[in-house]
């Protein structure tokens, strides 16, 4: 199961990606989390220590070559994971796309190509792959995520966020992705939930989850703690577990464990 998480900047993509990844890993799945944002933040949300996050090497362009039938990884995907992933709490393997370090470094086309090829080779029913996308629609527009099984668009209940989801959905529709769902985030009231629900009905989107607003998530973020390791954020974690279940990623066996941050 390969799941891409998209949405407007600030909608909560990274928090939801990290929580899904850790929940699934706790329930015994093999989990790979890909930070596909040129401005990466997933390591912190997963609870990777800063020292270990600093050792995360971006995937080099040389990992991809043209081969019969199109682009592909030049090395077995298991070797790529061994070499380029860092271990996050609960056993999640984190991989980073890489970002431009300086102005005028050129385009990110090769970074997109590597992520795309990696996703292609990571497909396996037992493994969960979570791709935390950047707000920019480039991954959708360039088809970087054509090899995922589902795209989840995170929507906040306000106009611009929903408009972004609508436009992103139009881009996803061009890709051979089987399932596209919306998850409502930062829902403060029944009116908020209704706004997203009506939006989904109007455009024929499946609303697969509703995550309530929770001040504690903000508090956890400010303390650089993953939501899943912050007791007060339990309502968010529960909502994400339900939503993951809707997508066929059963997190039912998830048991609270001692936070692994800082070890």
């Amino acid at each position: 199961m390969r799941l891409a998480i998209a949405g407007k900047g600030g909608a909560g993509k990274t928090t939801i990606s990290a929580t899904v990844a850790r929940l699934a890993a706790r329930s015994g799945r093999s989990v790979v989390a890909i930070d596909a944002d040129a401005n990466p933040n997933l390591s912190f949300a997963l609870g990777v220590t800063p020292g270990r996050a600093a050792s995360l090497e971006p995937l080099p362009a040389s990992l991809v070559s043209r081969r019969v039938g199109g682009r592909g990884l030049t090395e077995p995907v298991a070797d790529v994971l061994t070499r380029y992933s860092v271990l996050a709490p609960d056993g999640v393997q984190l991989v980073g796309m890489g970002s431009p370090a300086h102005a005028d470094e050129g385009c990110l086309c090769s970074a997109h190509a590597v992520v795309s090829s990696l996703l292609e080779d990571l497909g396996s029913p037992e493994r969960l792959v979570v791709v935390d996308m950047e707000a920019s629609p480039e991954h959708l527009s360039r088809g970087t995520v054509r090899h995922v099984d589902a795209v989840c668009m995170v929507a906040e209940p306000y106009y611009r966020s929903l408009e972004t989801v609508r436009r992103m959905a139009a881009l996803v529709a061009e890709l051979p992705v089987e399932r596209v769902v919306v998850v409502a985030n930062k829902v403060r009231s029944s009116a908020d939930e209704q706004a997203v629900s009506e939006f989904c009905q109007r455009h024929g989107f499946e609303l697969a989850g509703v995550v309530p607003w929770n001040d504690e998530v903000v508090a956890a973020d400010r303390q650089r703690m993953p939501a899943i390791d912050w007791p007060g954020a339990a309502p968010l974690v529960a909502a994400v577990a339900r939503f993951a279940g809707e997508l066929g990623v059963d997190c039912g066996a998830a048991r609270p464990r001692k936070p692994m941050v800082g070890r």
Binding site: G9, N39, N41, D104, S136, Y158, R222
Partner: protein, 248 residues
Amino acid sequence: MRVAFVGKGGAGKSVIAGTFCRLLARADDRPVVAIDSDPMPGLAHSLGVPSTDIPLPPDIAEQVGADPDTRWVLRDGLTAADAVERYAAGGPDGVRLLQFGKLRGHVRALGPSQRAFRVLIDALEGTDWHLVGDLPGGTRQPFFGWASFADIVIVVAEATPSSMLAARRLARLAPSGRLVAVANKVVDAGDAERLGRFSALPVVGSVPADPEVQAAERAGVALLDAAPSSPAVEAVGSLLESIGAEAR
């Protein structure tokens, strides 16, 4: 003045930029051009412009000169002022909104309109008009030179780790002019100080967390129309004054 707003997605760039444009237009007679380089919808709503998808006709730009010294300029006979009058959307307070259109398919499809857009912005540098840019969230566009028209690049950030981290990454930008930060959604006095310390940027403004902003966003209405005397609008007014003093 020539400014560009950058920062992490969701930091509040468009709300601040849109309000900034309109307050600037009210305070000064020279035209204000709001430059929206986000291929996703954004700035129009914060300005109060109804239409959100106004692509620039690619044929306003043409290639001149012989190989290898060809370059793109505005089509013969077309001035920057003409192009803006013709192709920018008119907004409240006389603000002109310039866009290259919104993404519908492969990003390549936007290429010609984006080229026309950059040619027009270059041409606007020869005017005395105000240019206010609102870049997409993250580090991608700023690092690829999309804020190069600005004398002052303003990094908008919340005092959260991810937002401040984006600010610190953006601090590596080397603009021709100045790079400053604005603290947004500020909840306590320490926020601006934390942002300054973490990003190593001078913090020239501080906009409070304001429920009026949230309400305006939910209603899809420009903040300045929804809550003209809200604390957030006042703070953007102060930001305009301090940037204006610097730009002069």
